[in-house]
């Protein structure tokens, strides 16, 4: 009897540890060590990537001798302060595309949680049957490197000296930049009202811009108030135009009589560098059947752009803005190296698109 309680506690502890191990995916990890199917091979690889066990992940590859560990990390966890370096691989979905006895193709959709919200990445992976197990062939992308060189950059930079606290009240301060809303279009979407348009900095100094909108009821009272948040290029250089989009979830047009627009601008220190070229822009249907605007970003300056952000405006044949979409690019822009981007647009909007304009915003680790 005197051993009953210690034995009971020991048994309960063992059971609890076992439950925790199963819940943490231990059973699945153990089952997948063998990778008896292509799906298991991809799952095992991505599970190791989730755990940031890069040595183990690399060892699982069919072409591990061709893939450097740093390249695998850069592919799945980012590099150079890119968005993926501030992200976690939360989970993933798998679809088999094609399978024979020797090889298979798997489509994987990676779901990252990032500092700017969820991010999805779709990849097609080749899986080979080697001996008893299946192994993933990781795409070997030879990272383009720029030859060591000096890139002279002599674009303008604007710095500001504001009025000091001890100055007399009459001492002149520098005015806020003049910005103007060029267009505004209110759209009723399935579950929301969306306001899209463009804003321009008409001044000769840089502006930090935020566009807000207030929906007014028929009696003039405020129904809802929202701002463009990150669906705008906040820092606008002189004469630069940016699209904006403001979403009002759960709002219906019949609840609203009018919209009051409000654009706020602040004078900020900024640099005309870097210049980012947006090339090869085209509308296409992607592998998942979604309409997307594709293109490439090329950083023409000599400094790394950590987190590029693409904001695209779409126009109908009369030149009216009919949609604005945005997307963060998960790779950093290294000097002179093109990086692809894709932003999606709704299927019902795509046929009406006659033209589009892409602007690139960016966030840097050391400065924005």
């Amino acid at each position: 009897m005197k051993y009953f309680v210690p034995l009971l506690i020991t048994a309960a502890t063992v059971v609890l540890i076992a439950i925790a191990w199963v819940n943490s995916g231990g059973m699945e990890r153990e089952r997948m060590r063998s990778s008896r199917t292509p799906e298991e091979a991809v799952r095992l690889l991505l599970t190791q990537a989730q755990a940031r066990n890069w040595d183990r992940a690399r060892a699982l590859l069919a072409n591990s001798s061709d893939v450097e560990k740093s390249a695998l990390i850069a592919d799945l966890a980012g590099s150079n302060g890119s968005l993926l370096t501030f992200a976690n691989l939360e989970n993933f979905d798998l679809w088999p595309l094609h399978k024979t006895d020797r090889e298979a193709s798997m489509r994987v959709k990676l779901h990252y949680s990032t500092a700017v919200g969820p991010l999805e990445d779709v990849r097609d992976l080749k899986v080979l049957h080697e001996g008893e197990a299946w192994r993933v062939v990781w795409p070997t992308t030879t990272a383009t490197k720029v030859a060591p060189q000096v890139i002279p950059v002599n674009y303008l930079r604007w710095d500001i000296i504001n009025r000091g606290a001890e100055d007399d009240w009459g001492v002149q301060n520098v005015d806020s930049p003049q910005v103007r809303i060029l267009s505004m279009n209110a759209l009723q979407r399935l579950d929301r009202i969306v306001i899209v348009g463009e804003v321009v900095n008409e001044d000769t100094v840089p502006a930090y811009v935020n566009v807000g909108a207030t929906l007014l009821r028929p009696d003039g009272s405020t129904f809802a108030q929202e701002s463009s948040f990150d669906k705008v290029s906040h820092t606008l250089l002189p004469k630069q135009v940016s699209p904006y989009r403001i979403d009002f979830p759960e709002a219906r047009m019949n609840q609203v009589k009018s919209v009051r627009m409000d654009v706020k601008s602040l004078l900020v220190a900024a640099s005309a560098d870097p210049v980012i070229e947006v090339s090869d822009q085209r509308l296409q249907t992607d592998a998942l059947g979604k309409k997307v605007l594709l293109g490439q970003l090329l950083n023409q300056s000599g400094q790394v752009v950590n987190i590029p952000h693409v904001v695209a405006a779409y126009y109908d044949d009369s030149g009216k803005v009919i949609w604005v979409s945005d997307g963060y690019v998960d790779q950093a822009l290294l000097p002179q190296i093109p990086v692809p981007f894709a932003v999606d647009l709704p299927d019902d909007v795509a046929p009406k698109v006659h033209n589009y304009h892409v602007s690139v915003n960016y966030f840097n680790v050391n400065r924005s």
Partner: protein
Amino acid sequence: MRLLLASVLIPFSLLICGAAAELRGPAQVTAGNPVSLASTGTGSGKGTFYLTGPGQASKRTVTLGDEIQVHGDEVEHAGRYTAVVCDGRKCAATHFFVRAAEPAKVSLLVHPSRVRVAQPNAISAVAFVFDKFRNLVLSPAQVDFKASPKQGPAVSQTRPTQNGVTWIRLTSATKEGPAKIGASLGKASELRVVQQVASEACNLRIKPEWNAGKFFVETEPVRDCNGNAVSDGTVVSFTKVDASGKTTVDAPIKRGVARVEMPIKGSAKILVASGVVTGNELSVEGRQ
């Protein structure tokens, strides 16, 4: 604490003031000048003197029956003052106004700090006249405004103040550059600078250029309709449409022109815009 004491004691003292007690002084004095108050009918011996006014409260012991001297530094702020003298049983009170002293300082508000060229009545300059104690001088005074553009003669105008304020409106010059706007009154003067900047680009034109096998597009010097060079840093958007799709580059003007390198495949159409202004269109053929 002194203000609290004064605000409690003075109304109380006024309530109990006897009809016989009297304190006399001038109805109006100039800020910073000493004042002499005569106390009569309040007995003799020691009494307590209270003085309250805008930003001012003081208390001291005085000899009743003598002239009560209010020092200049006690009446520096313009406005209504109340003086009370009490002998322990009764109090006497009087009021007087302190007006601003001679104009000694001009505060100048000029708006905006940047303005496009050739904008009618776009600049406003407002002058406030103060004395040496920072009291607004309400009596009329003549303020001389002077605007000096970067090029051309200075323009002067004299305006009288009304209730301490006067203003002018100015049209910006047709040439860019800083304009100095000053206001003076006697020895007091203030100077502000308004930056006059070029307006929208006018006749925005681009030209092609092949250099070492690379294709460049460059604007002609970008100027507004008055011939002023548009500020460096102003963004010019280049758009190229060719077989590979559409390419856009937002390039800032540098030393008067904006220039970008654009690889082309086959025939390409190149457009240019700056803000809401569009320029000419180029059709170019790629080289093998």
